[in-house]
């Protein structure tokens, strides 16, 4: 039975070794459903690569390749060129996806190169906001105030003290015809965006927020709820940049926002912002920056920018 109107076919088989409540595994199911049978998948080293391919077993029912941590976009470039040489570039979708470690940090230069060259492929970041595979170290996507094993909260530290890199805007500024943010909390919205990204010719990007209960120190059954709260509090707004123009999906207005505390409180990685007493300064900073970021997005959308 089709659920939420999503295709019934599963290309990411059960039996993979992902943790209970893994948001990335949900993200991969969605990505493969949107990509469909005529696709080649590229993945860097990371959680999903490890849990899905314990040789000689595999969870992949689509052609799938893993090279190194930093090069999925370069491998995708080579695949696009090979398909073009074979005259198959319009028949086969080339879909690369990686965690935020690969996407935001170590593989960033190669994504930039591939986007500048304009290959016809889609890159999706399953963004769980830290290096989860190696044990929850901070990345360029780790949010302000989050504690990780390399940005621990301490007597004089609130965890990571730098705001998350705005990769979505950076890739839009490469001239990509379609970039979007999505969350596993909104499955049909995410599915629609991934599908649109794949169907749009040229290099396209979707940043897909994917809860990691192990790294976010959150209850496994709350993965979807947390991924929705990220959006409802405005911390992770859902929007698209289509041919350079912003479209806001949700929240539509700063007056609609739920308190950021609702999101932060549910996760152990922000626990230190509430204990022993509430860190008003840090939480105010987050609240204000979330608000001004959203206002900027809304302004751009209203001005048709």
């Amino acid at each position: 039975m089709a659920i939420l109107g999503l295709p019934e076919e599963e290309y990411f088989a059960c039996g993979h070794r992902a943790c209970a409540g893994c948001g990335a595994a949900i993200a991969i199911r969605l990505i493969t459903k949107a990509a469909g049978r005529n696709s080649i998948l590229i993945e860097p080293t990371g959680c999903i690569e490890v849990v899905s391919t314990p040789y000689p077993e595999t969870a992949w029912r689509l052609p799938w390749i893993h090279g190194a941590f930093e090069n999925p976009a370069s491998i995708a470039s080579g695949i696009c060129a090979a398909l073009k040489a074979m005259g198959k570039e319009n028949e086969i979708n080339v879909v690369a996806f990686g965690g935020d470690g690969s996407t935001y940090d170590i593989g960033f230069g190669h994504i930039s190169g591939a986007f500048e060259r304009g290959h016809n492929f889609t890159f999706i970041c399953y963004d769980n906001e830290a290096y989860m595979n190696t044990g929850i170290q901070r990345s360029g996507a780790t949010p302000y105030g989050a504690a990780t094993t390399t940005s621990p909260a301490g007597k004089i530290s609130i965890g990571k003290e730098i705001w998350k890199k705005n990769l979505v805007q950076i890739l839009a500024d490469h001239g990509s015809p379609y970039v979007a943010t999505a969350s596993i909390g909104y499955l049909t919205d995410a599915y629609r965006k991934i599908k649109r990204a794949i169907e749009t010719k040229g290099p396209t990007f979707v940043n897909l927020l994917a809860t990691c209960p192990t790294g976010w120190r959150s209850p496994t059954e709350k993965s979807i709820e947390i991924a929705r709260l990220a959006v409802e509090t405005g911390i992770y707004p859902l929007y698209e940049i289509i041919e350079g123009r912003h479209v806001i999906n949700r929240p539509k207005d700063v007056s609609d926002l739920k308190p950021v505390e609702d999101y932060l409180k549910m996760q152990g990685r922000f626990r230190h912002l509430f204990r022993p007493e509430k860190n008003e300064k840090a939480i105010n900073f987050i609240r204000e920056r979330v608000k001004s970021n959203l206002e900027l997005l809304i302004e751009r959308a209203q001005k048709n920018l």
């Binding site: 992949w60 052609p63 799938w64 893993h66 060129a81 073009k84 190669h110």
Partner: protein
């Protein structure tokens, strides 16, 4: 066949053009640039129908070749020195995935201090990445070995990537006569590439590049190492087929018949010099002069370096009393890399020759006729240290 005066870099570009790779991905680096520039010109003029990816780095170049090869197409790249070092991680992955990517390495010294000039430290440091390595002495050999490397790497008994190495500037930028066969002859020798191995195809989904747990890793590595060891026989087959298909057109431009090693005046030699690459041309001149004076000296030129042609070397050096290894690379804190292999090779032999190691030509230092003569004299007279730096 047409004879042309050609820069070695252009001879390589010509071989690549005639090999018709589906995908070329390369990043410019001195002194490799003349190869990729010429390939770009071929494409701009419609003389080469390859997809050329102008990547953002050598790391991107080798990764794009990985992707193209894994999709079942012929893929080519060229680099040197810092570029090869930047590729290093992916070199292991390409060979481990058994992808027959072909590469030219225009040998150049490594920084620091930064140097654009020739030695062999780059490819010798990449000795253990699981690629086949062949070294060229002349422009003709550059052309020939480039054509052959595709056939060797893509052979389904081999499925191992390869590097053809040539000396930066001292060969890459030198003009020499080159015999270029007709395209039909090349097509007959090197047919269109058909992927035999696992490759990415939605009609037949496969998982490439999985994680290997301790229970599997060693067996997979062993099968890869066996393949490169066994490739020695296939390389010999290809050398033979090439020698039969393309007879020598220009005298002294290449060996009469290709083999893992070239023997020059070794027949009755008491002393042998061992070397790789363009310096062999200079050594041959010195040997000719010494021979005229009645000195029994010869040269063993290594063409195949990986896999290491143990038996061919032993056969060639049978009866030689003293061997001087001339090498353009070092292993800091250890013995010379090529010297080590020779001493290891002869350790078990009862009639092992006396071995000497001479470090030459680092960072583009000229290796003159006089220096080679000096090396010969030191070896003959047993003068100097076991390992000598020839400045």
């Amino acid at each position: 066949m047409t004879k042309q005066i050609m820069e070695a870099s252009h001879a390589i570009a010509e071989a690549v053009r005639m090999a018709k790779p589906a995908v070329i991905a390369a990043y410019p680096i001195t002194p490799q640039t003349h190869i990729v520039e010429r390939l770009s010109e071929f494409i701009a003029d419609g003389e080469l129908d390859s997809e050329y990816i102008r990547v953002e780095s050598e790391f991107g170049a080798i990764s794009a070749c990985l992707g193209a090869s894994a999709t079942g197409t012929r893929a080519y790249t060229a680099t040197c020195s810092q570029g090869l070092a930047l590729m290093n991680e992916v070199l292991f992955i390409v060979s481990g995935m058994r992808l027959p990517v072909c590469m030219t390495v225009v040998n150049r010294a490594l920084s620091a201090p930064i140097s654009i000039w020739n030695d062999h430290q780059d490819s010798i440091s990449a000795r253990d990445v699981g690629w086949i390595q062949m070294y060229a002495e002349t422009s003709q050999e550059c052309y020939d070995l480039t054509l052959m490397q595709f056939k060797i790497s893509e052979d389904h008994r081999v499925l191992t990537p390869s590097m053809v190495c040539l000396d930066g500037f001292t060969l890459s930028h030198v003009y020499e006569p080159v015999d270029i066969p007709a395209q039909e002859q090349v097509d007959k020798f090197l047919p269109r590439y058909k992927p035999y191995h696992a490759f990415l195809d939605p009609g037949q989904p496969m998982t490439l590049g999985p994680i290997g747990f301790p229970s599997e890793y060693m067996e997979i590595r062993k099968s890869q190492i066996d393949a490169i060891e066994d490739s020695l026989g296939v390389i010999e087959e290809v050398y033979n087929e090439f020698s039969d298909s393309f007879p020598v057109g220009i005298k002294k431009a290449r060996p009469e018949r290709y083999f893992h090693v070239e023997e020059y005046q070794l027949e009755d030699a008491e002393i042998a010099l061992v070397a790789m690459g363009s310096v062999c041309g200079t050594i041959k001149v010195v040997i000719d002069k010494l021979r005229k004076k009645g000195e029994k000296v010869g040269l063993l030129k290594l063409i195949t370096y990986r896999p290491f042609p143990r038996q061919a070397i032993k056969d060639a050096l049978k009866g030689v009393e003293k061997v001087a290894v001339l090498e353009k690379a070092v292993s800091p804190g250890g013995d010379g890399p090529v010297y080590c292999e020779f001493s290891s090779l002869f350790y078990d032999s009862e009639d092992r020759p006396e071995l000497r190691d001479f470090i030459i030509g680092l960072g583009g230092r000229d290796v003159s006729l006089g220096r080679i003569k000096k090396i010969y004299e030191m070896t003959k007279e047993g003068k100097g240290e076991k390992r000598e730096w020839v400045f």
